[in-house]
Each structure stands twice: as C-alpha cells, then as structure tokens.
C-alpha cells in the first residue's frame, strides 16, 4: 500500500518512544502508579488523610483512656483496683475492686453464650446443611433483623417480658433486675453473629468433602458434625469469640435489666453490674471532671477495651492460624 510508511529509523523511534511511554507512565493496573495531574495529586493526598483518620481514632482512644487511667492510679493504688472484689464508687467509703464488675460482665457473657452457642450453631448447621435454599432465603434476613434491633429495645424486652417469666419460675423473691434475664437477651442478641459467621464458614467447606463422607454411607448428621464442623472449626470458634466480645461490650440491655449491684456472687438470679453498666451509671450522674468517679470511669473503660481488643485479636488469630485451606 502506498500510504503505508516504509520500514526505517523513523518507525523505530516511534516504537521505542511507545515502549518508553509504556514503561514510564502507562502501567496503570499496578496500584500506586498511573498518570496524575496536580489536582489528582491533591485528591490523592486528601484521600490518604481520610484513610489515616482511622489510625488516629485508635490512637485517640488509647491516649484518652491511658491519660485518665494514669491520673486515676496516681490516687488509687493498683492493688486496690485489681486486688479487691468489692466495688462502691458512689458511696462515701470508696472501694474500687474492679473484679466485681469484671465478674458481672463475665457472668452475663457466659449466660449469653450458654443461650447463643447452641441456638446459633444449630441454626448455622441447619441453614448450611439441611435448609432448602428457599427457606434459607427467608430465615437469613429475619436473623439480620434480629441483629439490627437496637440494644435498648432488647433491654425493654428483658425487663418487661423475660424478667416476669423468670420470676414466675423461680418465685417472687427473685428481683425484677437480675443477671439471668439480662444474660438471656444478650444471648438472643448474639445468636445472629454466631449463626451467620458460622454458616459462612460451613458453606466454605468444599462439596467434595461432604460427598466423600456420603459415599462412605454417612448420615447428614454425621457429615455435619464430623466433617463440616471440624473443617469449619476455625471460623466457628472465631465467630463465638467475636460474639463473646460483643456480649462483653454490650451496654444498654445489661444497664436496663441487670440492675446496678456490683457483686461477686455466683447466683444468676441476683442483680449484677457490668463494666459497661457502671460507665453508664457514672455518666448519667453529673460527675465533675476532676473527681475520682470521673477518672475511674476511664480505668474501667481501659479494662473493657483491653479485654475486647484481646478477644478480637484472638478471634482473628484463630481464624488465620487454624484455617483449613482447601484446593
């Protein structure tokens, strides 16, 4: 063709220029490269700042908690805080034994888990192994609704519905405010977490494992309990730890239904006070910011933060470390 340029040095130049361009600028699919104008760089910088904001939030939380906690421990020795089991921050004779609150929190979380683990795991097994897809399509959104109910509503439910039932069963000398009713609704609250995260983990187990077990003559239950559950074990355990961490951090339901009685007893029919409920109680009163009541708020919050953070990190570690990789 006449119009076509002849082969020659000119075309080589174009070709090398193109190659140069390709090397220098046009490798956009690799993140972090690509052509940018000055305005683009400005946007890049602004977006970077928004991303670092989350780091500053964490730093802010830690600093805020540490600052007041240190102030608190200047006035109250460490041993009074961690070495005692009686709490009376609002009385004239102040005692700051945090174990009373930690125990209250633990008791409610344990009751909650005792309710939520059987319900949640069974629900997850049913949804993942037994349920026809159509039923699952109905049940899962309902569980999501359960997860979306505000916690103050659960508090109302515990106080007005669950607590009277418990009093009917155990007799009138059980108080309206008791750990059992709070624990039961906390359990109800975390069922969706266990159910949905465990179901995800179980559904990720490849079909071939199940089919191998069926080929050996296993029943559905045997496949669920001996093949799928062990294979999804890391995900299931992680979901339970996450749910426990949510139960520990839960505030409104335990404030409303748990009663405000920090104590170290084992009877779930008595009123208890959790760390979160104590923080709410002190926040509702108008405590001056220089008072010891204000500072102890942060010391308790620090304990709570370390506890839940630890649980979340363990959950992440479990799901990474013990994950069964297939394929």
């Amino acid at each position: 063709m006449a119009a076509q340029a002849p082969h020659g040095p000119q075309q080589d130049t174009v070709r090398s220029l193109l190659a140069e361009l390709w090397r220098e600028r046009l490798q956009p699919s690799r993140p972090g490269s690509g052509r940018e104008t000055p305005v683009g760089r400005l946007i890049h910088g602004a977006l970077f700042l928004t991303a670092t904001l989350s780091a500053f939030v964490t730093i802010g939380i830690v600093l805020v908690l540490i600052f007041e906690t240190v102030e608190f421990f200047r006035e109250v020795p460490l041993l009074d805080f961690f070495g005692s089991t009686s709490w009376s921050a609002l009385f004239a004779e102040k005692q700051f034994g945090v174990w009373a609150l930690v125990w209250g929190t633990g008791m409610i979380a344990l009751i909650g888990l005792a309710v939520a683990i059987p319900l949640g795991l069974m629900a997850a097994i049913f949804l993942s192994e037994y349920s026809p897809p159509r039923l699952r399509a109905i049940v899962k959104p309902i569980l999501e609704i359960l997860a979306g109910v505000p916690t103050v509503v659960f508090g109302y439910f515990a106080l007005v519905s669950v607590s009277p039932v418990i009093r009917d069963i155990f007799g009138e000398d059980v108080g309206i405010y008791n750990a059992l009713s709070a624990g039961i609704v906390v359990g109800l609250m975390i069922v969706p977490i266990i159910a949905s995260l465990s179901e995800d983990a179980m559904r990720a187990v490849p079909r071939s494992l199940r089919e191998g077990a069926y080929a050996l003559g296993s029943t559905r239950m045997e496949v669920s309990l001996r093949v799928v559950l062990p294979a999804a074990f890391s995900g299931v355990v992680a979901s339970i730890i996450l749910a426990a961490s949510r139960a520990v951090g839960e505030t409104m339901a335990v404030t409303i239904a748990g009663g405000g009685n920090p104590q170290f007893g084992v009877n779930p029919l008595e009123a208890v006070q959790t760390m979160t409920a104590m923080i709410v109680q002190l926040s509702l009163g108008d405590t001056p910011t220089t008072s010891i009541e204000f500072k102890v708020l942060f010391a308790v919050a620090m304990t709570l933060f370390v506890l839940t953070l630890g649980m979340n990190i363990v959950a992440q570690w479990v799901s990474r470390r013990f994950r069964e990789e297939y394929e």
């Binding site: 956009p28 699919s29 993140p31 052509r35 683009g40 946007i43 890049h44 977006l47 970077f48 928004t50 991303a51 670092t52 904001l53 989350s54 780091a55 939030v57 964490t58 939380i61 805020v64 908690l65 059987p118 319900l119 949640g120 069974m122 629900a123 097994i125 049913f126 037994y130 309902i142 999501e144 609704i145 359960l146 979306g148 109910v149 505000p150 916690t151 103050v152 509503v153 109302y156 007005v160 109800l188 029943t219 239950m221 045997e222 520990v248 951090g249 505030t251 409104m252 409303i256 979160t276 923080i279 709410v280 926040s283 919050a301 709570l304 933060f305 839940t308 953070l309 990190i313 992440q316």
Partner: protein, 458 residues
C-alpha cells in the same frame, strides 16, 4: 428381568440394618433439633415484636388530642398545632405519588410529545404539591415561632415569615431552606426528570410511604408532636425524633465522605505494603470496639478539648467515628465489584487516575456505597450508649435551633422512660420503640431495594 442363573437379591440385603436405621433416626432427630433452634430464635423475635406492639399501640393510637393542651402550661406542650400537622399529612401521599404516577399519566394521555413538553407536563403535574408543601411548612414554622415567642415573653410576634427569619438562628434558616425550599424544589425536579426517565417507575417506594401515611392518620398526633413530660399521658417524642433526624443528617454528612475517601484510598491508591495492611487491620479492630468507648473518646475530644459542649454536633461526630468502619468496609466491597477491565479501559483512552475513578469506578460503586451508608445509619440511629457517655440530655423541651444546642434522641428517650418505675412510662417507651423500629425497618427496606436496583451484573 433377572438374567439366567442369577436370583433376585434377598430382602436381607436390601433392608437397612438396625444400626443404619438407628443412625438415620438420630440424624432426623438432629435435624428437628436444629429446626427447633431456629424456631426458638424466631419465636423470641416474635415475642419481642408482639410484646412491644401490645404495650405500645395503646398510647400510639388512642386519640389523646387535647390531653396535652389542657394540662399544658409548660413551654411547648401544645406545639406544634395538631391541625397543621394533620393538614401536612394530607399533602404527603399526593407529594409521594405524583412524581411516580404523573409521568405515567403524561405518557398515557399524550404519548409522543416532544421531550421538553413532556417535561413541562411533569412539572405542571407536581407543582401544586410543591407549593402546598412549601406553604404548609412555612405556616408550621411561623406557628412554632409565635408559640415560642409567647412562651419566652417576646411581644408582638405575629408569625410573619420575615419576622421569623429576622429572629432565626443560622440553623433555623438552614432548616427553613431545606424543608421549605429544597424539598419543594426536589419535587419539581422529580417531575422534570421523572416525566422523561421514569416511564416505568417502581411503585414499591411510594406504596410503602403511603401505607405509612395511612397508619399515621390513625395515630395520636400528640405523641409525635409533644415534648417529654412528667406525666406519661402528656409526654411525647417530638424533641427525640427531631434530635434523631438532626443527628443523622450531620452524622451522614461527616461519616460518608470520610468513609468513602478512606475506601477509595485503600482500594484505588494504596500499594500493598505494611501501611495499608496496618490500616486495614486497624479498621477491622475498630469495628469491634464497644460503642461506649467511642462515647468516652467523644466526651474527651469533642465535648472537652474541641469544646462542642453536649451538643448535636458532638454527638454526631462521635457517631460518625463509630460507624465509619462499617461505611469503609462496605464501600471497599462496592469498589471491588467493579472489574479491573473497567479501569484498564479508562486508562486506555487516556484518563488520569482521578478521571478513571470519578467517571468509571464511582458511578458503578455508588449504589453499593449508599447502601452501606444506610446500613451504617441504621446502626447509628439505635445506638444509645456513646451518647449517654458524652452526656446527651434525656429531658429536652425545645427544638434544637443550632448544631451546638443540647439534644436528645429516640433511644435515649426510650432508655429514660424504661428506667422509670411507673408502668405508664413503660407503655410510652414501647410506643417510642415502635416508632424507632418502623424507621429502622424503612431504612433497611430502602437499603435492600437500592441494592437490587443499582446492582450491575458483570
């Protein structure tokens, strides 16, 4: 037919052994148990809903009109005028339905109009509604001002709109602009664009809204339009609902840009190095921090250091930090659904990175981002603990006039009523819970509808 020389397999071989039958029985029992577990969860949820509906319906639907007014004397127990509120509600179904139905009518009555005429028709159809909403709202604002002036003892308040504007704070002017001007304009715009675009609009959203309006007609107007009171029969949730609305608007305005920005950076800009990994891990850890600790952060940073006081602004900023991880994660998921080929194609025609993001990635991911935002807001709307920690008040007998005013929100009002010993307050707490749950349900429904309508299958 059995071949020659072979006999049919004996019954012994085809029947299952007792052991297998036992195992099968156990398996069926296990399935029943699993079904029971789900049933128990559902029954508890059902019991919760029934309990609240039974307790709350009484106060929500008995027509207590007049109760508050007679016993009034408090600053704003008799505000706003129920008649005005009632009239406003009659305008609502028309305002909801017309932008959706109007264009259909135009198309059915006069098909094949030129585009501009079609659009003009759309505007003409909806314009009366817009004007109606505008007039009603301005009248409401004036009435509110007159009552307020009377309560605090300002003489000669006539409720003239210029007088109201003269006295209004910046926030009130924003409120007037948004509800009195922008909403009517939005209705007109819906007519203009709808006439052309919504030839087959979905009627789900207006149907839900009109159903809500029908329910509202049977409700006791006093419960929604009264301020809290010492007597349960006179107490209402007006300040709580408006406080919730104000806080949600500010929270969304703060959290959405920040969350989407962080997601854009992490998905589109960041190299895979220790820094982006750290941010990612940090975000997932932040999502697990108990909400009350955010409250303490807000108390120290926003209330004390930045001196926002115990205001709507402080509450909204705290809430924004709380829901940001949710927004970031859902925005990241939305961005990941856009295939890399879209980005490559944009680069191939010479787009810069920002042009690629702005014109090729964001339009596809935006629906998913909005869905995540609505879900985050539905989390924020029910949160109580952080706001208690920053010291939001529980008894507010006025409307917030600026973002630095004291405020209360629905869940705090509910908590306050639940914590009281009288059964009367428990009942109105249940009524307030119904209102909160309906708002939540509507938000979730909106999120689901939006997810379905904006999803692109690649």
């Amino acid at each position: 037919m059995t071949p020659m020389g072979m006999t049919a397999p004996s019954a012994q071989l085809t029947a299952f052994s007792p052991r297998v039958r036992f195992r099968r029985g156990v398996s069926v029992a296990f399935m029943v148990a699993a079904l029971l577990a789900i049933a128990v969860s559902m029954i508890m949820l059902g019991a919760l809903i029934v309990e609240i509906a039974v307790d709350g319906a009484a106060r929500l639907f008995t027509d207590g009109a007049g109760v508050g007014r007679e016993a009034g004397g408090g600053i704003l127990t008799d505000l706003p005028t129920p008649a005005g509120m009632r009239w406003m509600t009659w305008a609502l179904p028309v305002a909801i339905l017309l932008p959706f139905v109007g264009p259909r009518l135009v198309n059915a009555l006069a098909p094949g109009l030129p585009r501009i005429a079609e659009r003009a028709m759309g505007v003409i159809v909806v314009a009366p509604v817009a004007i109606f909403v505008h007039i009603l709202y301005v009248r409401f604002e004036s009435a509110y001002y007159v009552e307020y002036a009377r309560a605090v003892g300002i003489d000669g308040a006539s409720g003239n709109i210029f007088q109201v504007l003269g006295e209004a704070s910046g926030f009130q002017i924003v409120r007037l602009l948004v509800v009195g001007v922008l909403v009517p304009l939005a209705i007109v715009a819906a007519g203009w664009f709808g006439a052309q675009r919504m030839r087959r609009p979905s009627l789900i959203i207006p149907a839900i809204m009109i159903a809500g309006w029908v329910v509202y007609l049977f409700m006791d107007p006093w419960f929604l339009s009264s301020f809290p009171s010492r007597k349960p029969a006179e107490a209402g949730i007006f300040s709580a609902v408006t406080g919730t609305l104000y806080m949600m608007v500010i929270t969304a305005a703060v959290a959405f840009p920040l969350g989407v920005g962080a997601a854009l950076y992490l998905e589109e800009y960041a190299r895979r190095n220790w820094f982006s990994r750290m941010i990612q891990v940090n975000i997932s850890n932040l999502a697990g921090v108990p909400s009350i600790i955010y409250g303490l952060l807000g108390l120290q940073v926003f209330v004390r250091v930045l001196e926002f006081e115990r205001s709507v602004l402080a509450g909204a900023c705290t809430m924004a930090l709380l829901v940001m991880p949710i927004i970031i994660v859902s925005a990241q998921e939305a961005l990941r659904t856009v295939p890399p080929s879209m980005r490559e194609a944009a680069y191939a025609v010479g787009a810069t990175r920002w042009q690629m993001i702005r014109f090729h990635v964001l339009p596809y991911a935006f629906g998913g981002m909005l869905t995540g935002n609505i879900l985050a807001m539905s989390r924020a709307i029910g949160e109580t603990a952080p706001l208690i920690a920053i010291g939001a008040l529980t008894f507010i007998a006025f409307l917030a006039d600026s973002p630095t005013d004291d405020f209360t929100v629905l869940p705090i009002q509910i908590f306050n009523w639940v914590a009281r010993p009288q059964a009367g307050f428990h009942e109105i707490a249940a009524s307030a819970i119904i209102v909160l749950m309906v708002i939540l349900l509507l938000m979730n429904a909106a999120a689901i509808i939006m997810r379905q309508r904006t999803r692109t299958d690649w």
